[in-house]
């Protein structure tokens, strides 16, 4: 159980890093700072968004692989317990998490293509939209994972 708990913690830490990176980039691309950075929120938006692309792709892949690995253990331990406890909504949102994670994964190649240097003006709108979509997916999956872990985390 220690092994799986360790993996889950690493998965969570990777997700936190991914969450920070994608949120920075999404805000920077949707609400770019026009004047000199001032308060915390403005400085948060003032990052160079192109520098986050590789980190976001690597973090997404790493978080996904870890999650897909832990999922094997979840399937016959935590999920069975959740079903016995009749926590069907929790099981349902976790089912949604696996779909959201998969759809986010398949959007990554387009995300990479849209952010490829030199940035294409033709893909500017697509770039913004896909970045926002990924940010929404990452936030949704982070929150769902947190809720499910609270309901029946490893070691509980």
């Amino acid at each position: 159980m220690t092994f799986w708990t360790t993996l889950l913690i690493i998965h969570g830490l990777l997700a936190v890093a991914l969450l920070g990176a994608i949120t920075h980039q999404a805000l920077a691309v949707w609400m770019p700072v026009r004047s000199k950075a001032g308060n915390f929120v403005t400085r948060f938006r003032a990052v160079p968004s192109t520098s986050y692309v590789t980190a976001i792709i690597v973090l997404y892949l790493a978080t996904f692989v870890m999650g897909a690995w832990i999922y094997t253990q979840y399937r016959f331990t935590s999920r069975l317990a959740l079903e016995q406890l009749r926590f069907f909504k929790t099981v349902g949102v976790f089912e949604m998490k696996e779909h959201v994670a998969t759809i986010g994964l398949i959007v990554l190649p387009a995300y990479w293509a849209f952010w490829r240097q030199p940035l294409s003006e033709d893909c500017a709108e697509g770039r913004k939209s896909v970045t926002l979509l990924l940010a929404v997916f990452v936030w949704a999956n982070f929150l769902i994972g947190h809720v499910v872990n609270n309901a029946r985390g490893f070691g509980s």
Binding site: Y71, G92, E95, A110, A113, S120, A124, E125, G126, R127
Partner: protein, 173 residues
């Protein structure tokens, strides 16, 4: 807002095709492999649970990957406007099917007489295809010239909406 680089066309076609094929594989249960987590064994294609639950998610992803790679690879060989037209046609047909089938079921429920034929999915499919042909024919040419990058977020959101709909039993028990 269009995309004409080879990489953009490939990745957009891949994303769109994967989302659609993934929904089909999920709903029709078409995994390339089945994993049995309790015993750590893998079966090719669909297999019933053995010594505990079976996991099909990995198999659905692999089935979709093969299909999407094939579609994206083909998209690289045809003119860009064909790819745009095919996606446009597919999206209109999908939305049309949703509308026609919903209206048919609503009419079936409200009708004072038994209209069994309204429950037929093939009727909704035929109507949706017909509507898609007509709309594609009359759609402005500028919509069909170059590939729209927005498909890569619009189609996955549509796919997720369908997947979420099929998960409603978890929330209504």
């Amino acid at each position: 807002m269009t995309a004409s680089s080879k990489a953009a066309v490939f990745t957009i076609a891949f994303g769109v095709a994967y989302a659609v094929i993934y929904v089909i594989c999920t709903e029709m249960n078409l995994p390339l492999v089945t994993y049995h987590p309790v015993i750590g064994e893998v079966d090719v294609l669909w297999a019933p649970p053995r010594s505990g639950p079976a996991m099909y998610w990995y198999g659905w992803m692999l089935s979709s990957l093969i299909g999407a790679l094939a579609v994206a690879w083909l998209a690289g060989f045809v003119p860009e406007q064909w790819v745009q037209r095919a996606i446009f046609f597919g999206c209109v047909a999908a939305v049309g099917y949703l509308i026609f089938y919903t209206v048919a079921l609503f009419t079936y429920d409200k009708a004072p007489v038994e209209l069994e034929f309204l429950k037929s999915r093939s009727l909704a499919v035929a109507a949706a295809l017909l509507a898609a042909i007509v709309i594609s024919f009359f759609a402005p040419m500028r919509w069909q010239q170059r590939l729209w990058p927005g498909w890569v977020w619009l189609v996955p959101i549509g796919a997720l909406a369908v997947l979420a709909y099929y998960l409603t039993p978890f929330f209504t028990r």
